[in-house]
């Protein structure tokens, strides 16, 4: 019971972090270029990849049934 709630809370947390990272005003902090690449390009795809990675880790970790837990 607790485990499921914790998992749920983590996904909601990721959603909130993503919503903040992907939107203005945080977005408008990144302008110009870095090493010749557009900073916003690097930032957006980097943050995006990180969120996907976090979702993947969380989902793959918790989708395996734990001890004492029935497989769904």
């Amino acid at each position: 019971m607790l485990r499921r709630t914790a998992r749920r809370d983590r996904f909601i947390g990721l959603f909130v972090i993503g919503a903040i990272l992907f939107n203005p005003p945080i977005l408008n902090l990144f302008g110009g270029t870095v090493f010749g690449w557009p900073t916003l390009f690097v930032y957006l795809f980097g943050a995006w990849a990180l969120i996907i990675l976090a979702v993947a880790l969380l989902s793959e970790k918790s989708s395996r049934p734990g001890p004492g837990e029935k497989a769904p």
């Binding site: 408008n28 110009g32 010749g36 989902s59």
Partner: protein, 904 residues
Amino acid sequence: MMSQPLILGVGIAYLLLLFAIAWLVERRGGIGKLSGSSLVYTLSLAVYCSSWTFNGGVGRAALNGFDFLPIYLGPTLAFCLGPIVIRRMLRISKANQITSIADLIGARFGRSGGIAALVTVIAVVGLVPYIALQLRSIAQGYATLTATSPAPGSQPLPYDSALWAAAILTVFAMLFGSRSIHPGEHHPGMMVAIAAESILKLLSLTVIGVFVVYGLFHGFGDLFGRAAAVPDVAQVFAQPPDRYGFSWIAMTVLAMLATLCLPRQFQVTVVENVDERHLDRAIWQFPLYLLLINLFVLPIALAGRLLLPGNDNPDNMVLALPLLGHQPVLALVAFLGGVSAAASMVVVETTALSIMVCNDVVMPALLRIRSLGLSERSDLTRLLLWIRRGAMAVVIALGYLYMRHDSSEVALVSIGLMSFVAVAQFAPALLGGLFWRGATKAGAIAGISLGFTVWCYTLLIPSFTHERLVAQFIIDGPLGIGLLRPYALFGLTGLDPVTHSAFWSLLVNVGALLVVSMLEQQRPVDRAHAALFVDADNPADAAQIWRRTALIPDLNSLASRFLGRARTQAAFASWARGRGLDPATAVRADAETVLFYERLLGSVIGAASARVLVGAIVEEEPLGVEEVMRILDETSRVIEANQRLEDKSRALEAASAELKRANARLTELDRLKDDFVATVNHELRTPLASIRAFSEILRDHPRLGDAERLEFLAIIIAESERLTRLIGQLLHLSKIEASGTIPAQSALVDLAAVVRESSAAMRQVFAGADVSLDVDIADGEARVMGDHDRLVQVLINLLGNAVKFSPRQGGRAELSLRRRGDEVELAVADNGPGIPPADRAVVFDRFRQLGDSMGERPEGVGLGLAISQKIVEQHGGRIWVEDAEGGGAVFKIRLAAARVPEPA
């Protein structure tokens, strides 16, 4: 430049290949490893990327920089919530055999046909521009490749490539989506074909991207460097502060909602899902797909701006760039990618829409018209199929007409966003319905219809800009009322039309849902129904609300008309077996069986139609208050879970209390051990100290008299003996404890002899203390198996205690031996102060000397009873203490009598 027949041929060949894939998958029964895998599920979700992504994204990037991205960040965010929102949609849809989003919203609000029809109509109207977008994109691509007129829709009808695209796509949509009626509306073949198209889309855009970056330029650094050098292009990514504002946020929110509400996304995410676990994969693989397909969008857009400066339509850069690099094959690949994107979108969208139109609008209406006699027709599957095909043709035709009518200057993305705002109107009712018990049907209808009206007013009508009337209407407002201008409603300016419309429509929508729902008094039955959707952890076994009965043959013939006789019989047989009914003899259907038939029908013709059909032949009884209460209780599984949690915590409390007790016992034992050490220390030191003191006197005073010397030596000897005794007892106890429960010696012991021997040994002591000792040995055999010497020791010990605790004058003790059934009882009684009940359990502990509490310290070391208890236990007996008659304590020992063979 390429020949038209070649392009047409390749395009049609490609679509035929896809159809062959779908056909093969379904011919094999659709149970191949491929269909129904999580990979196919994930890739089919990518039907989200229509030609809007493929061509429009680049166009948008070329004009506005990064704001093509929110459309893909939104779904990423939505899928972060997938385990909560999408999983619930999946579970509820599975349990209720939901076939479309209209069905789901309709089912949530009391299986109401009206609201499902409303959702369907809005979906059709809202998605027409989106389908128009796909047709135009294909036509534009075709025009670019063949270098004909770039403006589709301006040619006379027979030469309009968009018309041909529409016709071909209609045929394929019918082939994919409405070849036969599938229960549950699963289309495994279509899913695999869509997955294949998704792979091609991604590959195609990536190949073009690599070609542009490394073929036309020297890598990313070169491309970005040259773009930065052209001020006009550089402004695309070197933005001033606050470039992205409300419009970015609005697009993110719209895309998020669209992922859940677009009929085609609902079709692939929910309806076509075969295994809930696929979602665990898809929630990160689908966003990953979106990331990968967008990786090259900005580089291609920048390259297009640099190399095609005079291009008036940035939406076709994906095709124009390979042509510029003299790579016609690559251009063809890009064209096929665009066709894939458009075709998959049109096929799935029209399939989903046709199911909605057929199940939620046309069929319920036809079934209600009694004069048609539809309910009496024997086979309706062909009718269903033709309704669907008709719906597909109508939807695509509407899309084509809209495309011809709409001015061609509007970019692809803007048209698509219009549709996003329209379908976002479903979100409040959908999410509110799934997570808020209080959402009512009236609230949902009010929200959706008001939101849709605002959408029509602020986006759809103004999109017909080349009507002079409309243009005037945009500038001045209706009848010249400035406050009602569609792009600046109530004077709200500074937002682009899409953001403006999204804000007003969703505000009105959510507001109406909340206000109407909260003002309305919910009927108990509606409340119970809402509880099924909102609170049920597993809606599959949610209780049945409607108390309905019907005759099973009636239901059977009804279902057979839509599913065929064999399929119906098989389904009912397995259902009946599961419930322990005999399918051959069951006649009257209870509420659950009626529900089963309704869901079975619903899986083919949708919940709304099924309700109408089943409603015609069932008898419905009103629901009592008790039932409603029961349903409310039953569905509140949360409460039950809480109960379980409480039980668990109680068990935990009990366990911790036990632990506490054990801990207290350990602490007590620890204290006893400390006492033990202290006592031993004291007991050993006292005799040692006196021995030492008297020895020193003897050494230092050689002239002591003989009498004194003898006296001192006697003391020394006595103290040494006491020491020896103490050490002996300690050793004895530890030996007994080490030997466990096995008697050291096992022989037949005559207890009468033991009693006589021990009383004889103690007689002197009793005489010295002036305590009388009565010995009472009953007649008869009293033999036990054991150790004679140890038993004597026990009795001596008990007798010693009796002497110690008997009063100085008139002390009396009694030692008795009695036979008690199979056991022999030894009792040692005294007339001393007795032992209070609270202390009876602890007197047998080591060094537990009751003298402490009685003010005087008795002699002895406090090991006697502990040793006695051990010995008795070794003999398999028990020892305890109780009150003696006339005051005092009596120690009793019971031992099992030995079976002695009768002397022959």
